[in-house]
């Protein structure tokens, strides 16, 4: 189930909210666990089993890690390794086996028939990372063990962030799982954040997605400007899609008494790639830093080792995004840019005017999305090369008629996307926040977003979730 659907908004959500607040507090985690499984099982009921297995495995590992940590550290470590192996095997089997087999088949003489692989279980990249954070944190004594399997299951399957993040580390919600207090103020805050997310997803991301898809099927030369406009639309689509989903998750969390950490912080206003990755998908960056980069030695084992560590992390970050080589390339591309910035570019960049820094960062971010978009499913490297070629074919057509038509058709949404990528709206809001009319403005905002989103959703204009396949 996705948040930006009529089924979620008008059936699942009102029923769950009503049930949750009618339910006595001590049963709320159980209730959440059950509705989480309904949410997850809708569309792929068989994978509920996977979720339950994941819950039991990590609960058990956590339990034994905690029990043996003092007396028998080796045994504790064994359970930690077991948890990681099981989680990574699950991820590996469902997400990467096709890619691995295809790669092995590239070796001359080898021809393993590709088995009929099951569909990728939704959100598996997110919840396996979450459960691993639990085992590791318990092992490191950074989080208390969870003795109640239902409460633990609630954490693993928590529907707001189940299918597209943020990746909530166990230690960040450990206390909230047992001791959260829902308040009307938090609920109201949650409603507002949810509506921001809904607007990002339905009113911006879907429109930009429609534009980008149409741009690729105009049947004529879009021209270099047309190609740039297309990939910029895609850049907006992916940001608003993903951050909209994270906002909706945080908002829903607030409605249920949780507080999740921010996942995006206006990434497109960055002045460098380093800054971009501090602002983009923060929970994933944090995860890799904490559980891969630092354990590998981070920057403490000499310069050469740091570079290797960085490249390992970025290889994995890329691979996490999908079972296709372009994602690895995308990860390494950013890894390399980060290393270059660290070594030489940073000092030089800081002396440049801010505008140059923004242009520099946005240029490489947008080129990054070209690499990101062209996975094997949509033509892979050759399509990527052709598209990059069209972007820099400055001697050719400037903009095709069909591309121009699309630009004009989506112009208001494109402008809205530009403005919404900056903190301008929030800054304006901060100014009136203290004013007596602030709740009224919030109400109008929420009502307008709900109204427009409903019209777009019913109209069924366009509603695929890009982040589904990760």
């Amino acid at each position: 189930m996705v948040f930006s659907s009529l089924l979620f908004l008008f059936v699942y959500l009102p029923i769950v909210l009503a049930a949750y607040y009618i339910c006595p507090r001590k049963w709320r985690n159980l209730l959440l666990f059950v509705v989480n499984l309904v949410f997850y099982g809708w569309g792929e009921p068989i994978y509920v089993i996977l979720m339950v297995i994941s819950t039991i495995v990590d609960y058990t590992c956590g339990y034994f890690i905690d029990k043996n940590r003092e007396k028998n550290p080796k045994k504790a470590k064994g359970f930690l390794i077991a948890s990681m192996v099981i989680n990574l095997s699950m991820l590996g089997f469902f997400k990467y086996s096709g890619m691995i087999l295809k790669t092995i088949n590239l070796i001359p003489g080898v021809d393993i028939p590709l088995p009929q692989l099951p569909d990728l279980p939704i959100g598996i990249s997110f919840y396996t990372f979450q459960t691993m954070s639990y085992s590791i944190d318990v092992y490191r004594r950074e989080a208390p063990v969870q003795k109640n399997v239902i409460t633990f299951g609630t954490y693993v399957s928590l529907f707001p962030q189940l299918i597209a993040g943020p990746i909530v580390r166990y230690k960040d919600v450990a206390y909230q799982l047992d001791h959260r207090r829902e308040t009307l103020d938090d609920f109201t805050k949650g409603v507002c954040i949810f509506c921001v997310g809904l607007a990002k997803k339905v009113l911006i991301a879907n429109q930009m997605g429609a534009m980008w898809d149409a741009m690729q099927n105009t049947g004529q030369d879009n021209g270099w400007l047309g190609s740039w406009i297309g990939i910029i639309a895609y850049s907006f689509q992916i940001y608003f899609d993903f951050s909209g989903y994270s906002d909706m998750a945080c908002g829903l969390g607030n409605m249920l008494g949780f507080e999740f950490l921010k996942n995006f912080n206006y990434p497109y206003i960055s002045k460098s790639i380093t800054e971009f990755w501090r602002r983009w998908h923060i929970s994933l960056g944090t995860w890799f830093r904490e559980y891969v980069y630092i354990p590998l030695g981070g920057n403490r084992k000499g310069f050469a080792r740091q570079i290797v560590n960085l490249l390992v992390v970025w290889f994995l970050t890329g691979l996490w995004h999908g079972a296709s080589y372009n994602f690895i390339l995308w990860g390494l591309y950013f890894g390399l840019l980060l290393v270059i910035e660290k070594l030489v570019l940073k000092k030089w960049l800081e002396k440049c005017p801010a505008a140059i820094q923004h242009i520099y960062a946005l240029f490489f971010i947008v080129i990054g999305w070209v690499i990101f978009y062209f996975s094997d499913d949509v033509g892979g490297m050759s399509a990527m090369g052709a598209f990059l070629g069209s972007m820099f074919n400055f001697g050719g057509v400037v903009i095709g008629n069909n591309a121009l038509t699309l630009l004009m058709s989506y112009l208001p949404f494109l402008i809205l996307a530009c403005v919404a990528s900056t903190p301008l709206g929030v800054k304006l809001y901060e100014k009136v926040k203290a004013h007596a009319s602030a709740p009224f403005l919030q109400t109008v905002y929420c009502a307008v977003v709900l109204f427009l989103s409903t019209s777009f959703l019913v109209s069924g204009s366009y509603n695929p979730f890009i982040y589904f396949r990760f």
Binding site: L6, V191, V458
Partner: protein, 382 residues
Amino acid sequence: MKKVYRRLPAIVFVGFIAVMLVLLIVMPKKDFSVNEKRNLQQAPAFSFASFFSKEKTFENQFENFISDQTPGRDFWVGFNSSFCKILGNTAPKGVYYGKDGYLINDPTETKQLSRNIGFMEEFAVDVKDKLNVPVTVAIAPSTGYVCADKLPDFHYTYLDDDLFPTFADTFKTARFVDLRDCLKTAYAGGKQVFYRTDHHWTEDGAYAAYSELGKTLGYTPNPETAYEKTSYPGFYGTTYSTSGFWGVAPDDIEVWDNKANDGAVSTTITDGDKVIEQDDMFFYSHLDENDKYPVYLDGNHPYTVIKNTKADSDKKLLVIKDSFAHSLTPFLADHYSEIIMVDLRYYANPCSELIQNENIDEVLILYSLDNLATDDHVGRIG
């Protein structure tokens, strides 16, 4: 009071989703959508088999049920189209909101086009060689091409002028009739050749094509005065339904009836086990509906036979067609004692057998460009 005010966003949000849920439950469920011309999904019965099925039957049906039965569905769709239009998107659902109330399909994809043209030429060669029956192909251009002045300022390029010459090149055995000029001339002469709210041509458009076809098929077209013209208001066609726009004026639909044929014409439609027979080519009961185009030959059927005992020849014509032929064929009936009309989307037998068994003298293949470019049934023609 101040506290309540502070929580107004939550009250509005929860109120909205709760009211939608309640309405969804209590409102009577609609069976059919007039605008969308389809049955709406009803509440599916739950079973474990359908819930766990590979196709996720229950889940899909339930989601369709929710979206089909959302309270105020037509309002939301209409609002959305009109909202997008105001923001400058002239074709939010693939239909341009043009000038003077014209709703025009955007240019078609061309993916099936060259294949389909190839099938037709192959068929023509085959029929010519084996049965010595001539095949004529006529293709109607797009509305957006003919009525270009009705398009919004920003619109996709219509490719008719690129495509038609390639057809002319491909058809060496088949006789190709290019309908671009006759329609453009009629349109320039002030005739409404395409409907504003439907993708088909009007009687004026069909008549222009009929006059043009006479040059190749060898009949002398009747003058316009031969027909008794009756106009019926309130026609909302396919582009209206697809677009969802608010505030669109309906079309008038005309029936041009050659009274000289009264009592001489009969229509027999065979559709599966059902046979419909009528002493007329027009099915007036459809004029009660929003979509009135099926007034001509009762709309889409696999196999239709039209006989005219007063025709000026005793030749037999086979028409292989899409729905553009429905308004054109009644004109042709004056010149052929028998016309057999087949629709390859529903008729799967080889046409060459039909030509042989029915002693066909002449074959006309008639398609609209838009349909031909996307239809994947033309390969059945053989």
